[in-house]
């Protein structure tokens, strides 16, 4: 099968990237040293090709009503245009279809960014839910006209919702303590628009969309740009001294920052309440959403915990964790360049407490790890 390529593929090769098959995409894993790239982002600035992620626009009158039902987090938290919200999208049984960021543009338009590997599945699910979705009961004159008393039939009616995959948009993330300054240097006019942008919000700039978001635990932007303009923007950033960062460092940065990776730390078989996502699931409002009934009926018995390896070795996904309260499993593990120790996220029985020592089976050895509060590192510093 031919690998899919982003508009920056030639640029990566010219910059000496080592390319790998990443879920069907030909992507850079590093441009030399993954550890150097990791430190580059923690201490200065780096840029990532995230064009493989998918932008999906949801449009239609009062589309907020649909998203209230579609997403586990509550889009009513979004009141200012450009504001972003992190949410899971759940199956009826509560399993996680994907995690995503939803941006409030206006009442007729929300923008969602989903993972690359799940994008087609996500869009199919959204379209299925949107088909035949019933809008609110009519009010005012329309209600009178449609009421049974005036001879009409009171019908909620189908709500027309458009699910638009924005394959025409590329996305580049610029991350690190100096990321914003470098973007302002490379992109004339962007400073005025984005200097006051609070974290987790975005603004449009012509055909571009600049969000103060990321997946590294550092400040910076994720920038959407028409695909055909992406190579030029990438080259401009490079000329400003922004180093390219591969998917290898992206993974260690996000793990240190305590951010979940879909397919490892969460998937369709596990409740978000057992995946460290309880803070994103709104179970308090009377609002109904897909998966809510299942979550209420199945209280979590496990939780996601942070581990630091006390002995020598490296924690990896799928290693078994022995605790006094039963067995668990590592969902993501690696070496933390910032802490110079091995760290992991692990799904363990919920009784396991911070400070506990647990045992991890690594090949033929049983090694000790300590349960810690995560994130492990953010904003240039280790947090342990």
């Amino acid at each position: 099968m031919t690998l899919k390529t982003t508009p920056l593929n030639a640029a990566h090769r010219a910059m000496g990237a080592k390319m790998v098959d990443f879920g069907g995409w030909d992507m850079p894993v590093n441009y030399g040293s993954q550890i150097d790239e990791h430190h580059q982002v923690r201490n200065d600035v780096g840029m990532f090709d995230v064009c493989h992620m998918r932008v999906v626009d949801i449009k239609g009158a009062d589309v907020r009503i649909f998203l209230r039902y579609l997403l586990a987090n509550n889009v009513d938290k979004l009141t200012l245009p450009g504001k972003a919200l992190y949410s899971a999208m759940l199956l009826e049984n509560g399993g996680v279809i994907d995690d995503l960021i939803v941006y409030f543009m206006n009442e007729d338009w929300f923008r969602i960014v989903v993972n690359a590997g799940t994008a087609d599945k996500d869009i199919a699910w959204m379209k299925k839910q949107a088909a035949g979705f019933k809008g609110p009961l009519p009010t005012g004159e329309a209600a009178v006209a449609l009421s049974p008393a005036s001879g009409g039939k009171l019908d909620r009616g189908n709500m027309p919702i458009s699910i638009i995959s924005r394959d025409d948009l590329a996305m580049i993330a610029v991350q690190g303590p100096n990321a914003r300054a470098k973007v302002w240097e490379a992109l004339p006019g962007s400073r005025e628009l984005t200097e006051k942008l609070i974290p987790f919000s975005a603004v449009e700039m012509g055909t571009m969309f600049i969000a103060r978001t990321g997946y590294t635990g550092e400040d910076g932007f994720e920038i959407m740009i028409p695909a055909k303009a992406a190579p030029f923007f990438w080259a401009t950033l490079a000329e400003s001294g922004v180093k390219p960062i591969g998917l290898g460092a992206r993974d260690t940065l996000r793990l240190e920052a305590g951010m979940n990776l879909y397919g490892q730390d969460m998937d369709e078989s596990v409740s978000p309440l057992e995946s460290g996502l309880a803070w994103t699931v709104d179970l308090t409002s009377p609002r109904d959403f897909i998966g809510k009934t299942a979550l209420l009926a199945n209280p979590p018995v496990n939780k996601l915990a942070g581990l630091v390896l006390l002995d020598r070795g490296v924690l990896r996904g799928h290693q078994k964790v022995h605790t006094p309260h039963g067995e668990g499993e590592i969902t993501s593990g690696s070496f933390s360049p910032t802490l110079e120790k091995s760290i992991a996220l692990a799904r363990v029985p919920k009784e396991v407490a911070i400070g506990d020592t647990v045992q991890v089976a690594i090949r033929d050895k049983i090694l000790n790890a300590q349960v810690v509060k995560y994130p492990f590192a953010r904003n240039g510093k280790g947090l342990l």
Binding site: I35, G248, G313, P337, S342
Partner: protein
């Protein structure tokens, strides 16, 4: 970096250097370290352990993945490079200097039968296709 012609090689990407006293030093090749990326952990065998050819005896872990290192020939482990405990990145910096363990081969002819640099390069090239 080319593969030194003075060394022998295995299809599993170890290099083997014969010392003056007939013992051998073993490490992993430039190609192997490139594939694995930044090294963060090396677990060497116990001195005195008897190994059979192709037996797993060392684990190297990079940020990305763990990989086994195999005994190139049968023999006994006579030394391990404990410098790599605190400095595993030496493998990335100069893979042909960063030996992992030394063996006394059971049979010197087994070492002679390993791949030479050109034959090893052919193995690497074939994997690229």
């Amino acid at each position: 970096m080319s593969n030194p012609s003075s060394l022998k090689y295995t299809t599993s990407h170890e290099w083997v250097k014969t010392e003056a006293d007939g013992t051998i030093s073993i490490g992993i090749t430039q190609h192997a370290q490139e594939l694995l990326g930044d090294m963060v952990f090396v677990e060497t065998p116990t001195v005195g352990r008897k190994l059979k050819a192709k037996e797993e005896c060392t684990v190297v872990e990079s940020v990305k993945a763990a990989a086994d290192v195999y005994a190139p020939v049968s023999g006994e482990v006579i030394a391990v490079n404990s410098d790599l405990d605190s400095n595993p990145e030496a493998i990335n910096e100069d893979p042909y200097a960063a030996w992992m363990f030394k063996m006394k081969p059971d049979n010197a002819a087994d070492v002679d039968a390993l791949l030479d640099a050109a034959a090893y390069q052919a193995v690497v090239d074939s994997e690229a296709h």
